[in-house]
């Protein structure tokens, strides 16, 4: 097997991976950086983020307010030391992007404009129209092109981490074009490979969001943290799950049920605010978990509109007018017209909640370090945790910048700590095992299971049993079913026997990752007998700080369900309180 020698390997070339690569290249031009991704960098799913990135910049705002919104929004499951670091670094990172050319939308005086977002007390979301993630990704990718020390390995699928002597020292990856395995020998590895929304059938996530980075770390012994917290975005197009940004509501769009009632006022987010004059942190600008949960209740009450694609509520933006919609929400208008045949300028758009983001992920500390020495993680695949039980919209784009950079700095510190020589034979032996594993999967033809078949069953299980509202019974069923699917995965047979760009093999590997992640979601949810943020139990309806002001840590087992441990949440200055999104609050 060909060995590629590098100093730091990064898995994933989306926002977090690119930010890390640039930070490494800037810190020391002599560092050899291998940027490995299963897709070309600009295909990464960061590109689909629309609304914007939060960072305190305006004089009416403060770091304390951003702290409060984030911690309260996360239902006090955030680690407060991490949140503090995050909000402090956030403005610097957003200005840095501006200096790299990001086309942020502007105020008439030329300063950066900010827009209101859900769960935020003050306008603090930087935006580039409604294509913020796209512009962030492309700005980072284009900026990265000026550093010759960033060596890209585009379309390489990372298969296993190499951990020897307690240290992560590289990984194996499949070159998709040739079907050949490569060993990357590195002194540190940063995983920045995104979320796992594709465990669910109805999601805003692209095809590539299959939890590969999470599974990679998980299988190497790093616990996955808080995986039961899966965010539903309240406004997805009903036919295909395409996201309509929270910016729609930030700009003044309203949500109504079949009777035209702004139903959010019936779920603790009232009183009703004047149409077209959104009030921060109430009604349509409540947090995502509350809004998605309100939909569920409206559906139960029969207040939803039935459409060919299921029950919906309506997002009405007509009162914003064509000019404002074109200026602030051009992509939203285009998506509605293209994919639904409806124009938000002229008619209300049917929408429903859709799986959007994994709050959970690879267990890291405030320095983006995992418990395995030399292994770091950042972005959606990681759980620091600044998002707690419910991420605030527009914190994730900032997170991948702040912690992408932080992971790079930590990796450099690790390199400077005086590492012992590597045992090359031991690493090569591990790489060989990895190659054998992939080859066995590739060679197997007389399988009784198919990728598409198992995937469909997994998605149906997750949607039915681990959705917006959950019960112990359903979650037990999900655990059982996913465990069964993991066993049946062994009987998978591949049809495609070509070494060249074998997407059948790729999808089989991705399915393996998703099943590992799905089991951590189901087990974590079953064992968390309380309701908090995005995790709502019909059999345990209250938040239980006595027993569950804790992070779930799931440890991988190759055949059994994960072992679950708990870790205390870091509280520095904000004791758990009531999340009040009513307009009547002080």
């Amino acid at each position: 097997m060909e060995i590629i020698q590098t100093d730091i390997a990064i898995v994933g070339a989306g926002g977090a991976g690119l930010r890390a690569a640039i930070a490494l290249a800037e810190a020391d031009p002599k560092l050899r950086i291998a940027l490995i991704s299963k897709v070309y960098p600009m295909r990464s799913h960061t590109c689909a983020a629309e609304g914007g990135a939060a960072g305190v910049i305006k004089s009416d705002d403060s770091l304390d307010l951003h702290f409060g919104d984030t911690v309260g929004g996360g239902d006090w499951l955030c680690d407060q030391d991490a949140v503090e670091y995050f909000i402090n670094e956030a403005p610097k990172e957003l200005i840095q992007l501006e200096h790299w050319g990001c086309p942020w939308s502007r105020e008439p005086d030329g300063s950066v404009a900010v827009r209101p977002f859900g769960g935020m007390k003050i306008r603090r979301t930087w935006f580039a129209a409604d294509k913020s993630g796209f512009h962030i990704l492309h700005t980072l990718f284009q900026t990265s092109l000026q550093y010759p020390s960033i060596q890209r390995f585009d379309e390489y699928y990372a298969t296993d981490l190499l951990v020897d002597d307690g240290r992560c020292q590289g990984l194996t990856a499949l070159e998709i074009r040739s079907g050949q395995m490569r060993q990357f020998q590195a002194k540190a590895v940063i995983i920045a490979a995104g979320g796992a929304g594709k465990m669910f059938p109805f999601t805003t996530n692209g095809a590539i969001k299959t939890g590969d980075g999470m599974a990679l770390a998980y299988r190497a012994g790093v616990p996955l943290k808080d995986m039961e917290f899966v965010q539903y975005h309240p406004t997805g197009l009903p036919n295909n799950g395409i996201l309509l940004t929270e910016g729609c509501r930030g700009e003044g769009g309203i949500l109504v049920n079949k009777d035209g009632r702004r139903y959010l006022q019936d779920y603790g987010m009232g009183p009703e605010t004047p149409v077209g004059q959104p009030v921060l942190k109430t009604m349509e600008l409540g947090p995502r978990d509350r809004l998605s949960q309100s939909f569920w209740h409206e559906q139960r009450k029969g207040n939803t509109v039935s459409t060919p694609w299921g029950d919906c509520v309506l997002l009405d933006m007509r009162h914003l007018g064509e000019k404002k919609i074109n200026e602030r929400l051009p992509l939203v208008r285009d998506l509605c017209i293209s994919y639904l045949g409806m124009d938000p300028v002229k008619e209300p758009i049917p929408i429903r909640p859709v799986v959007h983001y994994c709050m959970g992920g690879i267990h890291t500390d405030i320095k983006a370090a995992t418990p395995v020495s030399g292994l770091f993680a950042a972005g959606e695949c990681a759980c620091v945790s600044i998002n707690g039980a419910n991420r605030l919209g527009s914190n994730s784009l900032t997170e991948l910048l702040v912690f992408g950079r932080r992971a790079a700095l930590s990796a450099i510190e690790h390199l400077q700590s005086g590492l012992p020589d590597s045992n090359d034979a031991a690493l090569a032996a591990q790489a060989k095992n990895s190659e054998d594993r992939i080859r066995a999967l590739f060679d197997k033809s007389a399988g009784t299971e198919t990728v598409a078949g198992l995937r469909k069953e997994m998605m149906a299980t997750m949607e039915e049993n681990a959705g917006i509202y959950r019960t112990g019974e359903e979650l037990a069923r999900a655990c059982e079913k996913v465990a069964e699917l993991r066993q049946r995965y062994v009987n998978l047979g591949l049809t495609d026997k070509s070494k060249v760009f074998n997407t059948d093999l790729m999808q089989a590997l991705e399915l393996g990752s998703m099943l590992d992640c799905a089991e951590a979601v189901a087990v974590g949810a079953r064992d968390r007998k309380e309701s908090r943020g995005a995790h709502q139990r019909l059999d345990f309806t209250e938040r239980d700080d006595q027993n569950f002001l804790k992070h779930t840590l799931s440890y991988y087992h190759p055949k059994e369900p994960p072992r679950v441990e708990y870790l205390d949440v870091v509280i520095t200055k904000s004791q758990p309180g009531v999340r009040d999104y009513s307009g009547a609050k002080k």
């Binding site: 070309y40 501006e98 796209f134 095809a207």
Partner: protein, 248 residues
């Protein structure tokens, strides 16, 4: 709205390990009318033939992965609606790029050219982060905003007759991205980019057919950018050769 219809999906197949040359394979696909061509391809992949290879991800026309020739025209698979076609749809890999396998093309040439034009901000004046953002008015932003919208889908390369004839041509997306940075009020790198752009394989190869702008799914208008670059390069030439004293 959701009625079903059967289509014949004719797909170019090529496996370099077993095929001497590309062939076509036709699948019968039951389509829901609101589907896009990508949905039909995924139907084939999931139900009929797991060996079919193609790139895709976001399904919302922003990641740029799924450019194919659809009935001979470069299109994003996720934005080519079944209802706009008859019962027979032919899908082939993007023109002008070597085929890697089936609908997957080798795109290195584009990536290399794109990187060669220095598509990043070369600041006019260095400024520390602590000094805050560069000021840029909405009017200044409007000057280049359109050219930032390129998703690198390469449809313009597949449409460009000149790129087909002269493979050295930098091509529409690379040149319009250079133009994007040249037009940015924060940028001072035009001279550096100009060395690449004004060369033989640069703008002068463009015969202004305008096919690039017609197929662009994001209305970037690379043809317009190319024209502006040509004019600017011509002015450069005059300033250098006829009025050397006028150079800044």
């Amino acid at each position: 709205m959701s009625e079903e219809r059967q289509i014949q999906l004719e797909v170019l197949r090529y496996n370099p390990e077993t095929d001497l040359e590309p062939r076509y394979q036709t699948y019968t696909v039951p389509c829901v009318n609101e589907w896009v061509v990508l949905d039909a391809l995924n139907y084939v992949k999931e139900n009929l033939d797991p060996t079919l290879s193609f790139r895709w991800s976001c399904h919302m026309a922003v990641c740029g992965s799924c450019g194919y020739m659809i009935n001979g025209e470069p299109k994003l698979g996720c934005k080519a609606f079944i209802h706009e076609y008859g019962d027979h749809i032919r899908v082939e890999p993007l023109a002008h790029f070597p085929i890697e396998r089936d609908l997957v093309t080798v795109v290195e040439d584009f990536i290399t050219k794109f990187a060669s034009v220095k598509p990043y901000l070369i600041p006019k004046e260095e400024k520390p982060i602590s000094a805050g953002e560069y000021k840029q008015t909405p009017a200044q932003l409007m000057k280049f905003k359109q050219y930032t919208l390129c998703i690198n889908c390469m449809l313009c390369y597949a449409a460009c007759p000149q790129y087909g004839l002269v493979p050295e041509f930098l091509g529409p997306a690379a040149i319009s991205m250079a133009h994007r940075y040249n037009q940015d009020s924060r940028d001072g790198g035009r001279d550096q980019r100009q060395e690449v752009i004004a060369s033989h394989e640069g703008v002068w190869e463009c015969s202004f057919v305008g096919a690039c702008s017609e197929v662009c799914p994001k209305h970037v208008d690379p043809a317009g950018a190319l024209q502006q670059v040509k004019v600017a390069s011509t002015i450069d030439w005059y300033q250098e050769h006829l009025m050397p004293w006028s150079k800044k």
